[in-house]
Symmetry: C2
Subunit: 419 residues, 2 copies
């Protein structure tokens, strides 16, 4: 029988040690977010192909695993292009499915609707170390809440979760798309060039302030605008309260709403937070997706040299799908990155009960085995894990193996010593 032992390219088998941590983290996520009133929902892993290829997904639309039509609907001999032979695909994120779900069921859902989604997504990326073609995403979204109560709750819930996972001294970087625009507008860039400017600005953490300056000039932007723009960032670096500085400096370019939004979020989160982190206003934070309309934020963990999750407000997207304007704000944590960090740090799952191995000699009578099974049941009832195992000839080796599985207590049962 032909069998390919390996998982498909770019996907992985999850081994017991990792699985134990994944299960623990999944449980903790559900428990923590549920306490904030988030409601778990689920959508199919497969979506209609037209929903996956409507340009909302940006680059991800190039990475779809597409599913072949079946039965009479498949006509291979007359097929000209991919679209002729596929009718669906594996989802590449949880945002498109959420928009579809909400538009399908809005009448049956509360307002605001606080959704928790945990599920696999698939992208046919070039496989890299630590990056897989099937991976778990974990999103919380609040649909129908226009005020920044949404942002505040998303940040409080997510940081509390990270705290429970023993992450300390991390940062939540925050910005507002309107702040980005106000700064670019103040500097004198034309509105239709904002996207280009922001793509370059987004590289600040890699190429530094000088690198951004040079790239903007090389891109052909006016020297004046670039200088005025860069001066803002230089002065911001020396300033304690960046929001206050910019609201004075930018004047009419900055909507009062935007300043108030950032200050309220900052002050409320700082007043009520229950984890060890810093909320940092970061005027260089861009976030790639073009659908963001207001607040944007990102998690920065010391342990990982890159973003470990983020999100923001996207007040226009749901309306485009449903026809009804619906304010929306979401936060996605980097589940796989968090698991990687926990594994690397040797994270220990809080243990409940003991792990006991019962080693049973061969040849026990039914009555004897019944007695052993009853003892095992009793220990399980008291919250312990009991593994029943046939006693091996090499008991020392067997115990070594069991100890690797976390069994620290043993009980041995012999034919001659049981009644």
């Amino acid at each position: 029988m032909a069998l390919n032992k390996k998982p498909v390219k770019g996907m992985k088998d999850v081994m017991p040690e990792e699985m134990a941590i994944r299960d623990y983290v999944i449980g903790l996520i559900k428990k923590t977010y549920k306490a904030y009133g988030f409601t778990p929902i689920e959508t199919p892993c497969v979506e209609n192909i037209e929903n996956l290829t409507n340009k909302q997904g940006g680059e991800n639309e190039k990475l779809i695993f597409k599913i072949l039509k079946r039965g009479d609907k498949l006509n291979l001999s007359e097929a000209q292009k991919e679209a002729d032979v596929v009718d669906s695909g594996l989802r590449y994120d949880l945002t498109v499915p959420l928009a579809r779900y909400y538009s399908n069921h809005a009448n049956d859902l509360p307002t605001p609707f606080k959704a928790l989604q945990m599920g696999n997504v698939w992208r046919a990326d070039q496989p890299q170390r630590g990056r897989f073609r099937q991976f778990m995403q974990c999103d919380i979204d609040i649909l129908g809440e226009a005020s920044n109560l949404a942002e505040i709750e998303l940040i409080l819930a997510t940081t509390k979760l990270l705290g429970k996972l023993d992450f300390k001294d991390f940062n939540i970087r925050i910005n507002d798309r309107r702040m980005l625009k106000a700064m670019a507008s103040y500097a004198g860039f034309a509105e239709d060039s904002f996207d280009t400017v922001f793509i370059i600005l987004d590289k600040m953490d890699k190429i530094g302030i000088e690198g951004v300056k040079e790239t903007l000039i090389a891109e052909g932007f006016a020297q004046d605008a670039v200088m005025k723009y860069m001066q803002l960032f230089e002065e911001l670096a020396k300033t304690k309260d960046g929001i206050k500085y910019l609201s004075e400096k930018l004047g009419d370019c900055l909507p009062e709403e935007c300043r108030k939004n950032l200050e309220e979020i900052r002050d409320n989160v700082n007043a009520s937070k229950s984890a060890d982190f810093t909320l940092l206003f970061d005027p260089t934070l861009v976030r790639g997706m073009s659908y963001y309309t207001g607040t944007i934020f990102e998690v920065e963990l010391k342990e990982f040299n890159s973003s470990c999750g983020g999100g923001g407000r996207y007040d226009q997207m749901i309306g485009k799908f449903t026809g009804n304007q619906t304010p929306a704000c979401g936060f996605s944590i980097g589940f796989e990155r968090i698991i990687t960090i926990l594994l690397e740090n040797g994270f220990r799952i809080p243990q409940e009960g003991s792990r006991v191995a019962f080693l049973v000699e061969k040849g026990l009578s039914t009555e004897q085995l019944g007695e052993v099974l009853k003892q095992a049941e009793q220990l399980r009832k008291e919250g312990n894990t009991v593994l029943m195992a046939r006693m091996n000839k090499n008991k020392k080796f067997q115990k070594e193996q069991l100890s690797k599985e976390g069994y620290s207590e043993y009980k041995e049962f012999y034919v001659n010593s049981l009644q």
Copy 2:
């Protein structure tokens, strides 16, 4: 923007009420099975196409969602048949992936290996009421345990789980493929016709003993053999201890091993069970899959007019994949059917803590909101769920809506009454 609001054909969006029950049951399954030493593992949802089409999956292989090749590997214009354009597919069960997983990682896994798998599988079946093209399977398997300690533990663990879900007075039907063969052999059927005989026998619960008799004769089997065969079942119906009756009646046709196996399982399960069920020896139980080699069993719930899970011993299959003979035994519970029954019966999830809604008037100062958020955090710390919501104009309607979401307590916060 084009958007198809419906899920793909035959798959479903899971609404909050169902999701709450699913989450609860998943949690209970993991907790219960872990206490027996089962280890959760996971494999990718996508498998190499050759692993899904190697004839182990029987009819399921006709129902595969196949995934299109990507990039240069796809050559549509020269494609002759499906196999030319696909390289993988969605798994249709968890048994093939388990065999692959075990053959890939056996050196890193304990012996015996007790695996717990919960995951979605996909079959492009004709959609029916209550039957979906994406559904959850939940399998426990013990690889490397030749003795019936495996069967006993699988049955004890599964029945304990069902008991925790409030199922009472249910049956576990049990048989052995060797018993089936012994009975057919005793009656005088030729060994190469056993499969045909068993397929007809399997219909006993639908067409009755007379129906089976007529079908066997219509199939062309010798009158003598059919009569002798049917007499066994007629006498069994009058017998209390079917195993004992058959072991005396069948004589040398029945291996001593088989009788001992069934009796040991029955007696040990009855001596140690902790749920309200009956273990029934059922000589008409066949189970479809041809890979079973010994014990087979099935769950029969009063609430559902059909099997709600089952399994058995398949000592040959892993060896076919890996080249190393590995005894194996598994039990799969009908997760989706159980969820359906719980939903229909109005199953209530044991509630932890209170569900409190905070209704917050618009216009609270940052200090005021901070105070409210702190109160919410405190209640969450004490194990309650707190939903923060803007107070609506129609408070009565808002509370009615919230009560549907299970919020039974409210606290109102007004600008004028907060400090």
